[in-house]
């Protein structure tokens, strides 16, 4: 899904698990499929609209992936990262 930004041009939006190591994205929103304590935990960790997330490294299997979120490195499973919608930077 694409969004119009302030300049009227389109920001691509995708889910966090599509980003590769070394890339970063700005959080647009958390999918509505993410609810309850899962959502609260992600918010408590700082996954909020506007936060910039860097992809730090992946485990040997490719899942989970470690993300740098507001100076902490946090491992998240791909199924969780799928619920986080970001604009690649």
């Amino acid at each position: 899904m694409n969004r119009f930004n302030a300049e009227g041009t389109i920001d691509k939006e995708e889910s966090l698990d599509n980003l590769k190591i070394g890339e970063k994205g700005r959080v647009v929103h958390l999918s509505s499929k993410c609810r309850g304590s899962e959502r609260q935990r992600l918010i408590a960790l700082g996954v909020l609209p506007g936060t910039v997330i860097h992809v730090e490294m992946t485990s040997p299997f490719g899942d989970p992936v470690a993300y740098r979120i507001r100076d902490a490195v946090i491992g998240l499973r791909n199924e969780q990262a799928q619920l986080i919608r970001v604009t690649p930077l």
């Binding site: 609260q40 408590a44 960790l45 485990s59 989970p64 507001r70 491992g75 499973r77």
Partner: protein
């Protein structure tokens, strides 16, 4: 008592004889427990929060003749609780109303930590901020304007490096002054930005009620504001280092340990190293201990018994039975645990363990379990009881139970001697002499890896049958690597883990020793009870490719796996009348030479099948009583303890039975 309408003059002296309750709060990985230990020293004890299996640490320190009770709250990211840990922290601050709340903050990650500070500030303003990990800030050349931070937050801020005991005096003084009212908190600057709602206090306390529905968009907006303000404050007070860091050690190490190719080999290598150091290192101390206890103390006790004229059966029961069994458990169990646990704790301190859980999560997730189970499993290789307790790091009850029930398949220290001895005696001789040592070790490794495989398989089975359910939400923080505190680690892990497990094992070894001696010395129709039981169990034993002696030994060794081998040896001597080195019946002993041990096995008609099945059964049988007792306590349920007891036992019988049939069919 000062009049409440006047501001007390700041004096050097507090009142005396008061008692205050202080809460210690903070994000995980901020060094909070270091602060706790530094403040309370030995004046602390750990237990459980009522009704939960979350560790509660409480301690005390004194200052100018006042007592300060310090409660270490579980690490929390937010006051809006998303986990049992956070519920406990929130409930304590909200309802127990501590006199002062000390928030431990990682000074190198101010923005993230300030989020929690600002939330707590909404609930109580009697705060003291402890900016910990000053040593890391120095290492990263970070500068913090502490006065400005204190001014903006309206509460005292103290910079500490608890690991090196820096800043603690000032911290204690601030806590004391805040508690006694000598200093008062000032209003938060720009408070209106976060007072969007009647208050987070309201939201936080409502979140605790069953069926409460937090308005998620409001929650998100509120958190957004907290984070925004935290970011603003952090920008105001932090001066980043002049030049970008040239080398990030944490990143460099992580590139290797999570590498697609090198990640797992490095992990295997590290853990093999830990096991090897444990086995090699424990050998000599074990001998010293058994020499001390068996060659010196034992005869000494017997002499005393003679001189105070104990009846033979009393000295037999107490000394030959109970003392020997306990001595055996101690000399076999203590040295490896005294090495394994500190090594493990060092890895933990260093920060490597979360990486292990990170690497292995996918495997465990596929079986329906949690990545952190890899850690409880590793712990189980030291001692299953410790592994069961370690399962507390898993939030979800369902996944915690899986970790607890399958922990038994991790080959614990107590079973290594059995495995090593049997492999050396029976497997080694199958190959040329120069390879014997390597192949024997290889055989034990195969058994250990089989245990890992079973852990995964049984986890899978449990999550498809009696422990069905959803995978819990997962998040694993990977803190930067920190140089481990060697001496501190050795000391605390010794007290916490090694001694604790040892104590429980001794308690259970006592009845075992008594049982061994009694069954060997109580005679019915001129045969000892032990002989009768062996005869009775023989048919079943043979069916399983084992024999009656082995089964009885395992029965008696339910308390502690360490005594399986000596009990077997003792029983064989008793039953077959083979030449043994022990005196009297029901006396546990050890033989110095391997060939003499082998002679005894031969006298009992042991074959290669017996040996292999013994190794298998030692891996797959019920947990020792220490572990079972711990399971009952951790789960609060007899039902699960029974499952944990009988599941491996039934599996063990099945496996040995099958192996025996297949083996006999082909020979």
């Amino acid at each position: 008592m000062p009049d409440s309408t006047t501001v007390p003059k700041k004096t050097e002296e507090l009142g005396k004889g008061s008692e205050y309750t202080i809460a210690l709060l903070g994000n995980p990985n901020t060094g909070k427990s270091t602060v706790f230990n530094a403040l309370t020293g030995l004046r602390q004890h750990t237990g459980n929060w009522p009704g939960k299996t979350v560790t509660r640490a409480e301690g005390e320190f004194r200052f100018q003749e006042n007592r300060f009770k310090l409660i270490d709250l579980p690490g929390s990211y937010s006051m809006v609780a998303a986990s049992p840990d956070e519920e406990i922290a929130r409930d304590f601050i909200l309802y127990d109303r501590p006199d002062v709340t000390v928030v431990v903050v990682d000074v190198t990650r101010l923005e993230r930590n300030l989020n929690l500070v600002l939330q707590v500030r909404e609930i109580t303003d009697r705060l003291v901020i402890c900016l910990n990990l000053a040593d890391e800030a120095r290492r990263n050349r970070l500068e913090i304007n502490i006065d400005e931070l204190s001014r903006q937050l309206g509460v005292p801020v103290v910079l500490t490096a608890a690991r090196y005991r820096e800043g603690l005096d000032r911290l204690i003084r601030c806590i004391a002054e805040m508690a006694s009212g000598l200093i008062s908190p000032q209003p938060l600057k720009r408070r209106h930005e976060t007072s969007l709602h009647p208050g987070i206090k309201d939201m936080v306390s409502r979140a605790g009620e069953p069926g409460a529905d937090i308005d998620e968009s409001v929650h998100e907006k509120l958190m957004g504001r907290f984070y925004a303000q935290a970011a603003r404050i952090a920008r105001d007070v932090v001066t980043p280092p002049g030049e970008k860091k040239l080398f990030d050690l944490t990143r460099a190490i992580d590139r290797i340990v999570t590498h697609r190719f090198w990640g797992f080999p490095v992990m295997l290598l590290l853990f093999s190293l830990v096991f090897w150091i444990t086995i090699a290192g424990a050998n000599i101390p074990s001998r010293w201990l058994s020499a001390l206890l068996l060659d010196l103390v034992y005869p000494f006790l017997k002499q005393i018994a003679v001189s105070i004229e104990f009846p033979w059966w009393l000295s037999g029961l107490l000394i030959d039975g109970i003392f020997l069994a306990t001595a055996w458990v101690v000399s076999v169990m203590l040295p490896p645990m005294a090495i394994f646990f500190p090594l493990f704790t060092l890895l933990e301190d260093f920060g490597y363990l979360p990486r292990v859980a990170f690497n292995l999560d996918r495997v465990f997730k596929k079986t329906g379990a949690h990545g952190k189970q890899s850690l409880t499993m590793m712990m189980g290789f030291g001692c299953n009881a410790a592994g069961v307790i370690a399962a507390r790091i898993i939030d979800s009850p369902r996944e915690r139970l899986i970790a607890i029930i399958t922990n038994n398949f991790a080959l614990c220290n107590g079973r290594w001697p059995t495995q090593i001895l049997i492999a050396t005696l029976f497997i080694g001789p199958l190959v040329p002499a120069h390879l014997a040592g390597l192949i024997s070790a290889g055989a034990v490794l195969v058994i250990a890896l089989l245990g890992v495989g079973l852990t995964l398989a049984v986890s899978w089975g449990l999550s498809r049958t009696i422990l069905k359910g959803e995978s819990s939400s997962f998040s694993l923080e990977l803190p930067p690597y920190r140089p481990p505190r060697f001496i501190k680690t050795l000391y605390t892990s010794f007290i916490d883990r090694t001694m604790f497990v040892l104590w429980r094992a001794v308690v259970f070894a006592i009845p075992a020793g008594a049982a061994i001696w009694l069954t060997s010395n109580i005679n019915i129709n001129s045969k000892s009870v032990a002989e009768i039981l062996v005869g009775f169990l023989d048919p079943l034993g043979i069916l399983l490719g084992l024999n009656g002696v082995i089964l009885l030994a395992f029965l008696v060794a339910v308390p502690a796996n360490e005594i399986v081998v000596p009990t077997i040896l003792m029983l064989i001597v008793l039953v077959t009348g083979a030449p043994g080195a022990g005196e009297g019946a029901g006396v546990i002993f050890e033989l110095d030479s391997l060939s003499r041990t082998m002679d005894i096995f031969k006298a009992n008609d042991w074959s290669l099948l017996t040996a292999v099945n013994l190794m298998l059964f030692s891996l797959i049988h019920n947990p020792c009583s220490t572990t079972l007792y711990t399971i009952k306590k951790e789960t609060g349920s007899i039902k699960w303890a029974l499952v944990a007891a009988f599941l491996p036992l039934v599996m063990g019988f099945s496996v040995t039975f099958l192996v025996a049939q297949v083996w006999r069919f082909f020979s």
